[in-house]
């Protein structure tokens, strides 16, 4: 991979407001991370900082799916209860579907992103209200 291509990737990351990218191929590993403050500044700043409100974050980058492509209903809706470890969304990377699990039990107080949104690593996609 040339420097030119890496610069292009960095440009795309910035345009897509993604926090970073990790590429692995046999014999090659590339990790690009954007400056955390610039990423954080772009994130919606109106998230409540209440201790009962826990963000559910992505575990990689891809396209965010709130429902499975073969199923009409959403995996979880606002105000729904979730168990710890329950799949609340999917990340699509090409033909691959990776799960986003709820880190704790609680109920979904807000869905922050839309179905089909391109997301980066560690981006908050839902707000989880946990019992205090």
């Amino acid at each position: 991979m040339s420097n030119e291509e890496i610069r292009q990737l960095a440009q795309w990351l910035s345009e897509a407001r993604l926090g970073g990218v990790e590429l692995q191929r046999p014999g090659m590993q590339l990790v690009l991370k954007r400056h955390l403050e610039s990423v954080a500044a772009e994130e919606s700043s109106d998230l409540p900082t209440n201790a009962n409100q826990v963000p559910i974050r992505t575990c990689g980058l891809g396209q965010l799916l709130l429902s499975h492509p073969d199923q009409p209903q959403v995996l979880i809706a606002e105000d729904n209860h979730v168990d710890k470890g329950q799949i609340v969304a999917l990340l699509q990377v090409g033909e691959l579907l990776l799960p986003v699990h709820s880190p704790q039990a609680g109920h979904i107080s807000r869905v922050l992103l839309q179905h089909g949104a391109t997301v980066g690593y560690g981006e908050a996609i839902m707000q989880l209200e946990v019992a205090s």
């Binding site: 575990c59 499975h68 073969d70 329950q86 090409g94 033909e95 691959l96 799960p99």
Partner: protein, 326 residues
């Protein structure tokens, strides 16, 4: 090892099929949805030809007698592991004692339960597929029954990644005609012996999959296909996909358990690349047929292969990624 706890009939062990024995009068058998079986094996890192359980009737339940990774592919519907929902085309680690329940599909008609390493039954004539007519292959040459115990070739805790899925073939390789699921068909030897109106209607009309449809063949219902003159032909070799037209003009499509010879006039052949679509078409549903050429039929096989290769490549990359602990 798993134990069948549901009493629903006709679930069988199937792999990619028993090729090379048609000359002995032994049909191919094999999964009605080859792609679903192939994806299940890719998700588990199984050998390409590993066998799975094909489930045509629901609800279907098994208990894991020991830890085992598994994948559920094919028709999408309600599946749960110990009550927790399981997504379509998904791979998961089951622990000893857990119960997998597969409910009625909301789309498609056959579900595949794939086990790590494949279902461990002895191969017969080079295949683990159940040959129902000959009562050999698969699990004791018969459909599965309540209480049967089947071993996985690679039980235990999975060394590869679990808890992920892939985009299904019906999404990745969608094919519809006026909103109706479609299959591509090559005209066959006696095609020109049917009247022009019938030939035109065959391509233009919807066809209903009747209740007399199973692994042996599908009987369709629609505008009768009429010959220009009565035809009597000698029995000859036939393969899965062949569309025969008996007297009365309601066609029969031979499927994976078809006998290797027949004598009805052949109108066309559903191409190999699209047989999985028919394998997933539920009884009572409508399908359409699209005329295609031999080169187009080969291109369609290439499309299927490319999809499987792409899925395999992404799963390999996922396997290399650092594992997240839970």
């Amino acid at each position: 090892m798993i134990e069948i706890i549901s009493a629903t009939a006709l679930a069988t062990v199937q792999d990619a099929g028993r090729s090379g024995s048609l000359g002995y009068g032994v049909g191919t058998s094999g999964a009605m949805d080859h792609l679903a079986l192939a994806i299940g094996n890719l998700l588990l890192g199984n050998p390409e030809g590993a066998a799975a359980i094909e489930i045509p009737l629901f609800p279907f339940e098994v208990r894991f007698v020991q830890d085992c990774a598994f994948a559920v592919t094919g028709a999408a519907g309600e599946a749960t592991l110990d009550g927790q929902p399981l997504l379509p085309f998904w791979v998961l680690q089951a622990r000893e004692g857990q119960v997998l329940s597969v409910g009625y599909p909301t789309s498609g008609s056959r579900v595949y339960l794939c086990l790590a390493g494949g279902v461990d039954v002895p191969p017969v004539l080079g295949s683990r597929s159940t040959q129902l007519r000959g009562e050999f292959g698969g699990f004791e040459g018969r459909a599965l029954q309540q209480g049967d115990r089947l071993a996985a070739a690679r039980p235990g805790l999975s060394e590869g990644p679990v808890d992920f899925g892939v985009i299904s073939p019906s999404q990745a390789l969608a094919l519809h005609c006026d909103g109706v699921p479609a299959m591509r068909v090559l005209p066959a030897a006696e095609y020109e012996c049917f009247v022009e109106d019938s030939r035109n209607a065959f391509w233009a009309d919807d066809w209903k999959i009747t209740g007399q449809s199973n692994r042996y063949g599908y009987r369709l219902e629609g505008t009768p296909i009429l010959p220009s003159a009565p035809m009597e032909i000698r029995s000859h070799g036939i393969v899965p996909g062949v569309i025969q037209v008996p007297h009365g003009g309601q066609p029969i499509i031979q499927m994976r358990d078809a006998q290797p010879s027949g004598g009805y006039p052949k109108f066309g052949t559903v191409i190999e690349a699209d047989l999985w679509r028919l394998g997933q078409a539920p009884v009572g549903s409508k399908v359409r047929f699209i005329q295609c050429s031999y080169p187009e039929a080969l291109d369609a096989l290439d499309d299927n292969r490319r999809y499987l290769e792409q899925v395999a490549r992404l799963i390999d990359l996922h396997r290399m990624a650092p594992r997240q602990g839970h």
